[in-house]
């Protein structure tokens, strides 16, 4: 009897042991992964944490205390910063930013999608040369085109309006995005478009009803990139806007920084935090789609 029992249980014990061993190895490797992720992640997040912490510090503490926990937390930076030294509150500046970002992002999405569609899906005379100019526009440092561009917008009568800030983008002026969308489009099979053509759609309808939805994830990433870059753009508004009531957030943030004078760091940091909120929110809400989206570049057939 006893012998029989041993014979029967040994393999079970053995396999139980091998299973447990497998699980342990798995646990160790994932622990290592998390540790690494969290460690590096801290480095990534530290500035944000510091920024948020510092925005609740008093002005003197900001540079005296390198840690990120304020010793006497105060909302002063936010309250004072929000009021600004202008007749307007930061709400105005956020609204202005919105007025720039909205047409710019929409214009970019529409024009870049159309142009990328044209490049990726059609053969036409001059295509290679046009594509070469697209890449070339990325290569010249824009410091030296700034003055001629300014004169151009002056002659168009667009100074001190939002137009110079978004209209070029709405004409597919951001070659980076066009290039990116072309790459994604090339990864999407054409079958669905052909099906739509047979269903009676013309090329424009195909673009709108088929290509755009399938490209949507990539388009969303374009919008996000554009959103964040516009949010941060300082030089464009500085040069083209002169009325304070038209300033966007990026410009307003530097409004009170005069290196020859003392200034209120905590207000600036507090407003910097607020200025990050939209981008962070948008990224967090969209990131799932954003990251998945790019990966579905190659929609399954």
């Amino acid at each position: 009897m006893a012998e029989q029992i041993t014979v029967r249980t040994t393999p079970e014990l053995e396999s139980a042991r091998t299973l447990a061993e497998g699980r342990r190895m798995h646990a160790i490797s994932s622990a290592v992964r998390y540790a690494l992720l969290a460690g590096v992640g801290f480095l990534m997040l530290y500035p944000l944490v510091w920024l948020i912490g510092a925005s609740f510090k008093t002005n003197t503490e900001i540079f005296a205390n390198p840690g990120f926990i304020p010793s006497e937390p105060t909302l002063n930076g936010y309250i004072q910063g929000w009021k600004t030294s202008t007749p307007y509150t930061f709400a105005t500046f956020f609204w202005n930013t919105f007025l720039i970002i909205l047409p710019k992002t929409i214009g970019t999405a529409i024009s870049c999608a159309a142009v990328a569609y044209g490049f990726a899906r059609f053969e036409f005379p001059g295509k290679r040369i046009l594509f070469a100019t697209l890449i070339a526009t990325l290569l010249l440092p824009n410091v030296v085109t700034r003055i001629p561009q300014y004169l151009l917008f002056r002659d168009l009568g667009w100074l001190d309006t939002f137009l110079p800030l978004w209209v070029p983008s709405a004409f597919a002026g951001d070659a980076f995005f066009v290039f990116m969308l072309i790459q994604f489009l090339r990864a999407i099979p054409r079958d669905m478009e052909e099906a739509a053509r047979v269903d009676g759609a013309n090329t424009l309808q195909t673009l709108i009803y088929i290509v755009v939805p399938m490209l949507a994830p990539a388009l969303i990433s374009v919008c996000l990139f554009q959103f964040m870059w516009t949010m941060n753009d300082f030089l464009g508004p500085l040069i083209y806007l002169s009325s304070v009531d038209k300033y966007p957030v990026s410009l307003a943030l530097k409004l009170s920084i005069d290196t020859t004078e003392a200034f209120q760091w905590n207000r600036i940091l507090a407003m910097s935090v607020l200025a990050l909120v939209p981008a962070l929110t948008v990224f967090f809400l969209a990131q799932k789609y954003f990251i998945e989206g790019i990966s579905t570049g190659g929609v399954k057939g």
Partner: protein
């Protein structure tokens, strides 16, 4: 008329200027649209606007920009033409001269500023020393500091920085004291100092660093070129003095944790020919040559600088006013920090040769800074550095 005015600055200046514009606008029946930014990028903005002929009617112009924007004096409206409207008598001739190019008054000095010595009284007291009055005392203080307070204590600071300004001005100060001359000889439009004279100035500054009187260049750069007043070492009193613009008294005094910053007259070298004060208009109010209503703009400038509505509203947000009546009004009102007044008085009363705007020409600054930096890093000798500066600056001056 509808006018525009542009300036850079911080919060208090923005608030004050907008109020002043409102007051003056109401008084003279004009509306003035304020256009202001922080310091960053303002020069580019003005440059772009000038290139496009779209600048504001009234502009706050940095004094060193004059040779850039108005090389021949025709970059801005000539304010002499509006002497009926603007009371030019409130400025001394010297002040007006410093804003005049080719006989054209390109702008009105808003304030005069100059460099003075500030010392942290508490630290010196801790070391059991009086505030220094000569360079020698300062060097002695350095030794005492190291011994009594610690190796990271310095009585003074004059080095590096992003633009090397501290070192440039300190070397210039000492060289001026020794020669009695400014960098530029206005008569010949060449460098007034010989290379040997400049070499002494450079070596003097290096000696300060070697003796522990100031941090060396590399250390300052290593700290990330942070402004002195933002350094914990400053607020804690470990760096106990500096050579700064009088108008920045508040900025340097505010962070000090213990005691108070005291402005002190210029330290001098042995056998000094002059005190060598570095004094200049800090900024100008200029009127656009493209302005459609220059007369109205002139009324507003006069109001801002010479009429009580403007004076009171602006206060000392641009330093102590250069306009006599404004300075008096403010002093009477007691609106100004007495220590600041004291510092300003030191600047005004000190003597020295007239400072040429070429001192602050970007190419001159760059040559100066590059040579001092090369020297500080031990790449070239003091003599070479001096020669490089003299030759280089002569090269720049030759273009004008």
């Amino acid at each position: 008329a509808d006018l525009r005015m542009s300036w850079w600055g911080g919060d208090s200046r923005h608030v004050a200027t907008q109020e002043a514009l409102k007051a003056c606008g109401e008084k003279h029946g004009h509306t003035i649209k304020p256009e202001f930014t922080g310091w960053t990028g303002h020069q580019e903005k003005v440059a772009t606007q000038l290139a496009g002929g779209t600048e504001a009617d009234i502009m706050q112009i940095n004094w060193p920009w004059l040779p850039l924007f108005s090389l021949e004096g025709d970059g801005f409206a000539d304010l002499n033409e509006y002497s009926d409207t603007i009371d030019l008598s409130q400025w001394s001739q010297a002040q007006l001269d410093s804003a005049t190019v080719n006989g054209k008054l390109n702008g009105l000095p808003v304030s005069t500023t100059g460099r003075v010595f500030f010392f942290n009284k508490a630290t010196f007291e801790e070391a059991g020393l009086p505030l220094p009055a000569t360079w020698d005392e300062l060097i002695e203080a350095a030794a005492v500091f190291k011994e009594k307070l610690g190796p990271d204590y310095y009585p003074f600071d004059a080095q590096g920085g992003n633009d090397g300004l501290g070192a440039i001005l300190n070397v210039s100060l000492v060289t001026t004291q020794m020669t009695g001359k400014d960098l530029v000889d206005p008569a010949t439009n060449t460098v007034a100092w010989t290379a040997e004279e400049l070499q002494k100035g450079i070596e003097f500054n290096q000696n300060l660093a070697d003796k522990g009187g100031i941090r060396d260049w590399k250390t300052v750069a290593g700290g990330g070129n942070v402004d002195l007043f933002e350094l914990p070492a400053w607020s804690e009193g470990k760096i106990a003095g500096s050579y700064e613009w009088d108008s920045t008294y508040g900025k340097f005094n505010d962070p000090i944790e213990n005691g108070e910053l005291v402005p002190v007259g210029l330290l001098t070298v042995e056998d000094a020919v002059t005190e060598g004060v570095y004094r200049k208009p800090s900024m100008l109010f200029s009127i656009s040559k493209n302005s459609e209503n220059p007369e109205a703009a002139a009324q507003i400038v006069n109001c801002l600088l010479n009429e009580s509505e403007g004076i009171e509203a602006l206060g000392d947000t641009r330093g102590i006013p250069a306009s006599r009546i404004a300075a008096e009004t403010l002093a009477e009102g007691g609106a100004i920090n007495p220590r600041l007044l004291e510092a300003h008085k030191l600047v005004i009363e000190a003597e020295g040769p007239t400072v040429s705007p070429f001192n602050e020409h970007p190419e001159v600054r760059e040559i100066f800074k590059d040579a001092l930096e090369e020297f500080a890093y031990g790449n070239i000798s003091a003599a070479d550095a001096a020669t490089e500066i003299v030759d280089g600056v002569n090269g720049v001056l030759a273009k004008f």
